[in-house]
Symmetry: C2
Subunit: 263 residues, 2 copies
């Protein structure tokens, strides 16, 4: 099976011009088929404040009302996505920016209202991901760059978590490719000791994960990422890597510097 990298960068990378530049440079040097998924960053909040669109949160989760949806569609789907595409093109990487609406790549449903009404937030219909559309691009040397947006197939754009988009793409494409799903952030990997950046755990398999959970050494923020990672592995993704955006080159090679997650 051919290898495919599905690489997600978070808002912290997008927000830092130098960080982003050097990441995109490294990303464009890779030659294997690859997909980039980007988060949004604080720029949407800044622009939203000027437009009088407040960021509303319930229990720490962002609520996407109609104004917030327009905001993220503009900022993530337009500004951030196209700036990334233009820079990748400049580095010789044939990037094409998309949302989940484009070519119907990521069909989603508006999240049902239970205790919280999240508003215009999309839950991807993972069995309906348009893998043929993604493969068409990949087979022609085109690098899809996903903004964190989907659609409901009825004309409605939906705000969608970038981690979830990356996971869904990785899972959907794992029938055709040996997928390494890479979550890039600003730490070296999953840390044994949150206070020590050098305490990266190089490999976490199912057994090690159980032990780490029992020892309660992991930072709260990393738990959903790990759960997400194992869920992807259980659904066919070969391996998941959590690492520093600055270490992309190693993390696309055999000598990973972050944390590799396998069943």
């Amino acid at each position: 099976m051919e290898q495919l990298f599905v690489i997600k960068i978070g808002g912290n990378v997008v927000d830092d011009a130098n960080f982003l530049s050097s990441f995109l440079q490294d990303f464009s040097m890779e030659r294997a088929p690859r997909i980039l998924v980007h988060g949004g960053g604080k720029i949407a909040t800044r622009i939203g404040e000027k437009l009088g669109i407040e960021s509303r949160y319930v229990n720490g989760r962002r609520i996407t009302d109609a104004g917030a949806l327009d905001l993220v569609t503009m900022v993530y789907g337009g500004l951030v996505n196209k700036q990334i595409v233009a820079r990748l093109q400049a580095s010789g990487c044939n990037a094409l920016g998309v949302t989940g609406a484009d070519a119907g790549l990521l069909p989603a449903v508006k999240r049902p209202v239970k205790e919280i009404d999240y508003g215009f937030v999309g839950d991807i219909e993972s069995s309906r991901v348009n893998t043929a559309g993604v493969q068409l691009l990949l087979n022609h040397g085109i690098v899809p760059v996903f903004a964190p947006l989907t659609h409901d197939g009825k004309g409605q754009m939906l705000n969608t978590n970038a981690d979830t988009i990356a996971s869904c793409l990785a899972v959907a494409l794992s029938e055709q490719y040996a997928v390494r799903l890479i979550f890039c952030f600003e730490k070296k990997g999953v840390l044994q000791d949150v206070a020590n950046d050098q305490s990266v755990i190089p490999l976490i398999d199912t057994l090690r994960y159980q032990t780490l959970l029992q020892e309660k050494v992991l930072a709260d923020g990393i738990l959903p990422k790990l759960e997400n990672a194992f869920s992807a592995c259980r659904s066919g993704v070969k391996e998941v890597l959590i690492g520093d955006a600055r270490d992309l080159k190693q993390n696309c090679s055999g000598q990973v510097s972050g944390t590799l997650i396998r069943l």
Copy 2:
């Protein structure tokens, strides 16, 4: 040669929700290979005002400074483009939204500063249009939807007139397709008498154009459109049609209701 429609809608269509809806419905009913190019509309001006980004004009031409470029990249490349794509998808049209940066489809150069510095405005390098990239999409039943933006190949997005994008695409693809380039606006076509909406001139060829110019009956606003149309025809486009966005169905058929322009 297979027929291809390159269809441009202006800001007036984009701004009017009902107008746009019925246009997109008609557009999605067509079955021939087709490309949509959309203008921006006044929404960018409205959002710009809230963001404190003024629309600057010199001699009636918009100047695109860095703030204005971010604005149009957001609003045209994100909000307007993705809303159109989501609606087309809902109508069964496999739309994929792009700018000229995506897949390097439309390489451009920043307009050289002469009497006026237009700022971040792109002049398309017509000989370098990535026709293979457009054809890849068309051959797979994908309908490209272009926002009026290009890039300079060095990482810089550029604001670019939607009419020009439509013309350049029509010309570049005229080697592979019999192209009808359709400019949709809110009038029935080129009018013999500007005060009479029923005075549409059904066909303008080179001879008729010369006569009309000598008679000075044409409205000022239509002259650049006609010049642009004849220029496209001289560069290989089979025919250009100027007509009402509400008459798309007829204007994609043999019974045009607008003005057909041929050499």
